[in-house]
Amino acid sequence: MSLIQNDFVIEIATVNGSGSQSANNIILRSLFRMGIPVGGKNLFPSNIAGLPTWFTIRANQQGYTARRENVDIFVALNPQTLEEDIPKIKKGGWLLYPEETKLPASAETSDLNKLPIPFKQLVDQATDSIKLKKLLVNMIYVGILGELLQISSEVLEKTVSDQFDGKATAIASNIKTLNIGRTYAKENLQSKGFPYRAVTIDKNVGKILIDGNTAGALGLLFGGCGFVSWYPITPSTSLVEAFASYAEVHRKNTDGTNNVAIVQSEDELAAISMVAGAGWAGARAMTATSGPGLSLMGEAAGLFYYGELPGVLWDVQRVGPSTGMPTRTAQGDLLSAYSLSHGDTKHVVLLPGSAEECFEFGQTSLDLAETLQTLVIVLSDLDLGMNFWMADEFKYPTKPFQRGKVLSADELNKAKDYARYKDVDGDGIPYRTLPGTQHPKASYFLRGSGHSEKALYTENSEAYQKVIDRLSKKYETAKTLVPKPEVIENAKANMGLIAFGSTSLPMKEALDTMESKGLPLNYLRIKALPFTKEVDEFVEKQSTIFVVEQNRDGQMAMLLKTHYPQAAAKIRSVLHYDGLPMTAQNIYSPLLNEKGLSL
């Protein structure tokens, strides 16, 4: 038996509300602390308790931490899903299950190593409380996996105590249970030939393990967001809740007052409208939502665009259409976000592809919203927002906030014939004033109806057109200000691959695989709309462009074809839209297949 070090996928099947989340976290984080690159994905149902949930952990020394199709080690605590779970396990993989579970026929015929575990008996040793048993049973498998993988007790126990953050009884009972599992494994499973091992290495120096929603919340916190209005919706809720809990502490003044206003609104129409009012009044303001909420914000989005109001709308995408699958991931809101609202409206869209970028764009989005005086839509997704991503420790921002062209009373004194909607600098970006500015020229009347450069009501064709043509120019200016794409050129390649957002996670693995199979590709990851000149250049250079995205209709490909008509004919779509986080195989399989290359 040859050992397999630091390269395995564990999946735990259970039901939600059963408390396995913290157990899974402990395994994940312990591996992370051993310096092994890891990723964790929680596949949960859209209800509160009692339905199937799966948690997968991938540990991989090369840093391939995306989801992977075949599970090496499967912990089957949910007999209901066992039948559908068995096929997920790799040939020769390992199945841990409660000994009383009757395995389906498929388990018998599959090439599997089966480890029946006396969970009940073991947890009985840990506690007499029925309520606690339900929770602690999860620590049994933590202990067993810890022993099988040879995660040191020290690391595991430290992680447990961090997880239960000072709560001594909880820590003690969890460690006790964990060790019951551990001991059981030591005594009973050593001879089974379990090949996977976690070995301490040093790949995670300077790294953190975090979800994108928390990262985004931190970005907004350090980026100076002063106003948040939101209406709860999965999977964006945790972003605002994280922001609120940090702000609760870190925006609190010594007299107990708060340097932030957070309002849970009555619906999404109100949430985005509040942001409009707050942005107008001078706050760096934002709202967060998901698909249905995005649609409800359509009318107001047009007001931001046309009235030139700063604001950030953070959309954590889930599977549509309509209510869709609220707890599954997708990138299906791209087209809606880009042209959200009737009439000629188009938005600046940021596309974070990592936890670092969630943190960074939390700040950039506010800077751009104020600089460009417009709505900035950040499109994250459930995979990026709610799963566990490795990231470089976030860098403390040193640059001041970019607040754009705001005229104070003093500056107004100097300004000759100031007009709110006039292009003074040739970049399409006008100057604005804030309510309360003590100057007769400061006041103007913001409206979503036809207005002239002087912000006066108009139905005059030229006056109207002047303003909307300037808005087009401003959108051109945005191209020079939005985040530039990530580009990885491959000297051997003449074809290119374009992706964005959470598709970045499996990309390195996919590109490496394709290169090794004879399909080297140049790679560009778009981080924003409008497309910057780096995108122009990349598109021009490739002989064929594969656009990989997580939606059915190839929405990014549509936008690319539209913006690069000369290149439209060479654009091809690679689509994945089943609601599950993207794997490397989702990318390389169709491409290698099509090129007649085999794995």
Partner: protein, 344 residues
């Protein structure tokens, strides 16, 4: 207080400095009277336009903030969204006075959700409903405040109950609820002046006839109808200090509503039904009965200075969020490191 110069108010502004652009409403529209009276109230109350945020939705009524206080900051937003827009703006600049003018369609039809939740939150602002019982700007369809059996010009009758802005507001916990008529300068100015000093949301339902689509026989909101059906509950006088009241009222016939800044609204009871305006139950029953009778009862219905406002609930500091910058909004580098410790 600086000396007062003739033709100027106490802050040295002339009435013309409270003017706005020329109205584009129909000649004779009630909304224009509201604008005129608002201007007077701002002038008389010595409120500097620079310190005012004026907000609106969409409709003939919502156009009016363009017609007064050109030197203030206006936001003519979206149909039905004045309430949340005002919420965002006011929280960011709590020191400014926020006054909104909405229509009955804007408030009671498409905007009813925002309106009710504004009241729940008690956002400090003056909320004026310029109520004509129709959608003026879209040519006279019934709105949610149209009285049942009210007739359109075509003779078509409204089959549905009216939503009563005032009883709704009282039940939702609003601490300043009044009704008046656009043309009643005295009552309107007194109410608006008092509303400026109320700590939370002040709702004033202003019956404001639409001369073009609801001024015919059969309209229950025509000028004639208002003339015939308007019953003043009280005579109102707004005073800056207790001592200031010009009128000496008989004991028992007056009630004084005191605001936290020392100003007062003196109510002289005119109607036998005149109730204690601190009693919400009585206010609601009074409003319901008066509605059933088909009259238009005007005056102050409910006053309560005790409820926390949203600014208080959120415990906002003296410095406006709208004036904050890195020093106020960006925690330290150490804070970031500490936070990140939890993600290792």
């Amino acid at each position: 207080m600086s000396e007062v110069v003739a033709g100027q108010n106490k802050i040295g502004l002339t009435k013309s400095e409270y003017a706005g652009s020329k109205s584009t409403l129909c000649t004779g529209c009630g909304h224009d009277s509201i604008s005129a009276n608002l201007m007077t109230a701002f002038y008389q109350q010595n409120i500097h336009p620079h310190n005012v945020m004026k907000l609106s939705g969409i409709g003939c009524s919502s156009k009016t903030p363009a017609y007064w206080l050109n030197q203030s900051f206006g936001f003519n937003s979206l149909h039905g969204r004045m309430a949340p827009v005002a919420t965002g703006a006011k929280l960011v600049r709590p020191h400014m006075l926020a006054l909104g003018v909405s229509g009955d369609g804007d408030t009671a039809s498409i905007g009813i959700g925002g309106f009710m939740h504004l009241l729940r939150r008690n956002l400090p602002m003056v909320y004026i409903v310029a109520n004509n019982g129709v959608y003026g700007l879209t040519k006279g369809q019934f709105s949610a405040t149209s009285d049942q059996e009210m007739q359109q010009k075509s003779g078509k009758k409204n089959p549905f109950h009216a939503i009563d802005i005032c009883s709704l507001a009282v039940d939702a916990g609003c601490g300043f609820v009044a009704r008046t008529f656009s043309g009643d300068a005295k009552q309107l100015i007194a109410l608006v002046s008092a509303a400026f000093h109320h700590k939370g949301t002040a709702v004033i339902d202003v019956i404001s006839p639409c001369i073009t689509f609801a001024n015919h026989d059969g309209s229950t909101m025509s000028y004639t109808a208002v003339k015939n059906k308007n019953h003043h509950l009280q005579e109102l006088e707004f005073i800056l200090e207790s001592a200031e009241s010009k009128v000496d009222y008989e004991e028992g016939t007056t009630q004084r509503v005191k605001f936290n800044d020392g100003t007062e609204l003196v109510l002289k009871k005119l109607d036998s039904r005149s109730h204690d305006v601190s009693n919400a139950d009585d206010a609601i029953v009074l409003l319901r009965n008066s509605r059933a009778k088909g009259e238009i009862l005007t005056g102050l219905f409910y006053a309560n200075e005790d409820e926390k406002t949203l600014v208080e609930v959120l415990n906002l500091p003296a410095k406006s969020i709208g004036d904050m910058n890195e020093a106020d909004l960006r925690p330290s580098a150490q804070t970031l490191s500490n936070i990140l410790e939890n993600f290792r």
